[in-house]
Amino acid sequence: MGVIFLTPIVEAKGLTKAFGSHIAVDNLSFTVEEGEVFGLLGPNGAGKTTTIRMLACLIAPSEGAARVSGYNIAENPLDVRQTVGILTENPSLYERLSAQENMDFFAEAYNLSEPKEKISRIKELLEFFDLWERRNDKVATFSKGMKQKLAIARALVHKPPVLFLDEPTAGLDPESAKEVRDLMEMLSRREKHTILLCTHHLEDAEKLCNRVMIINKGKNMVVGTPDELRNRIIGKPTVRINLRKFDPKIVEATKKVSHVQQVEFNESTSNLTIILDDASIGTPEVVKSIVDAGGQILAVYAVRPSLEEVYLKMVKGER
């Protein structure tokens, strides 16, 4: 996404968690920079929630260490918790209480006790999440999507520098999931939170994350920007060009372009698939060569594997 991050706000070194003989998280090391949206991507049971729980000082690592907002998770758990907003796997809301009462409790629990500041922050968040009109209703009467939005609002109430979001769109219908995803995107832009996002929804990671770490069986499989991960499995950038009419002369002309490494063609669809060593320089040159050879171009596509393909390749490869 072209953003430069300078300061690591989450640093994990050799983080390991064993439950008896089962190793849930195995020697994870990573950093999350200030203002970054960092995705922990993996299948169920990969160790995502355990990692977040260790970083939020809910469970202790068996081995390794981590710092969150400069605080050591083993030595300063209360300071770590104060600087972290967490959306847990379940919304964890008090259903007999109203939305306002839930927010009041968590605001004060996170030391936002000054009444004016507290009231204005809660109003701001409930309005942002479109829940202000329902603030006095019991949470039990809310839909799943509304509960999830309220849980995110709760995590934000004390303006935490770091947000841990564990499966924020899990269990939601597609419409609610999109709404929550859009709100998180707006949030990361507007409030500049550092977000550690646990998900197995590739769409969430693709849309929201600056960097992604794919984990499986508690191990770090790969880490990088979504583009880097794609490039890692695709190897070289690929362009697909749809022609009005196929002509062998065009293929020959294309092969002569300096950045072209390989050309494949499909006569029935009039498509050329071209592998380049540098897409940014090679693509315009290829287009020019086709036009010079008398070809008529209908469309040019950059062929990029989805994050899903990267993910499946990594996870299945491990299995």
Binding site: L58, I59, N90, S92, R96, E101, F105, S113
Partner: protein
């Protein structure tokens, strides 16, 4: 330890509990039975017993063990007055140790186990509220309502017995006595705190509310022993006995609270989710 954080946990839980009639109803009904219905029924017994010519009604053991100065007082009373006096001042005293225990048992069992069952525990444990503040808050939400209901029950009980005895004792009010004041405001809170602390510890360690409640029933046994002891005359709740018990249970409270905070383990609570 920040008391305001413990009070915050108390207020949150109380807001939830007061809207749950399944919890509130037993808290009100049991004390009401002890403070109103039983005194009314037993208050009638002396009249019935004396009219039948049976003055004992099973209280001899208790009367025989009363302190000498009380026995001297009883010597100048009629049979009916003796029985009413013994029932009002001595017989029911230990039952008021059961009221806070029964009233708090449901709430204390629900404290952490209920949050696990309702899947609200993780967000609570993720807050920067310390172990001690959380533990104290959960104790207070059981302690404050149960003591409030105990004091109200005592007030009702006093009025009921004073109304019954006013005519029989020539306008003298039997209650409250110094023993009762010590019992309600000294012994009942210390006994309740010990029981609540242990129940909250159990609640943090089990998966669900029912399990916590079943285990915590065991905690009633020592108090039931006191009740049995008083009714049979083995123990008589005089000021010295009550003060000694207050001291003893005060120490137990301190030890239970220390142990509760020390053994409080967020990881164990989370990994035992229902």
């Amino acid at each position: 330890m920040r008391i305001e954080k413990a009070m915050l946990v108390f207020r949150k839980d109380w807001h939830e509990i007061r809207r749950n009639w399944q919890v509130v109803l037993p808290i009100i009904v049991v004390p009401l039975m002890i403070s109103v219905f039983l005194p009314v029924i037993l208050g009638v017994i002396p009249n019935f017993a004396t009219s039948q010519g049976d003055s004992s009604s099973g209280f001899e053991a208790l009367i025989e063990n009363l302190p000498n100065h009380v026995l001297e007082q009883l010597a100048s009373m009629t049979e009916m007055q003796v029985m009413l006096y013994v029932i009002a001042v001595y017989f029911f005293a230990p039952f008021f140790l059961i009221i806070p225990l029964m009233a708090s048992s449901v709430i204390a069992s629900d404290s952490f186990a209920g949050e696990k069952e309702r899947k609200t525990i993780e967000a609570l444990l993720a807050t920067p509220i310390s172990d001690g503040e959380l533990f104290l808050g959960k104790m207070l939400v059981s302690f404050i309502p149960s003591m409030a209901i105990t004091v109200v029950s005592f007030a009702v009980y006093t009025i009921v017995f004073d109304v019954i005895s006013y005519g029989i004792f020539n306008s003298i009010l039997l209650l409250p006595t110094i023993d009762w004041i010590l019992l309600i405001f000294g012994l009942a809170p210390t006994v309740a705190l010990a029981s609540i602390g242990l129940t909250v510890m159990i609640s943090a360690r089990v998966k669900g509310f029912r399990e916590a409640q079943q285990i915590s029933v065991v905690l009633l046994i020592p108090v039931l022993a006191l009740v049995f002891g008083q009714v049979t005359g083995a123990i008589v709740f005089g000021p010295v006995v009550i003060l000694a018990l207050i001291g003893l249970f005060g120490l137990v409270d301190f030890a239970v609270f220390r142990a509760g905070v020390k053994l409080f383990n967020r990881e164990e609570i989370l990994t035992k989710l229902a």
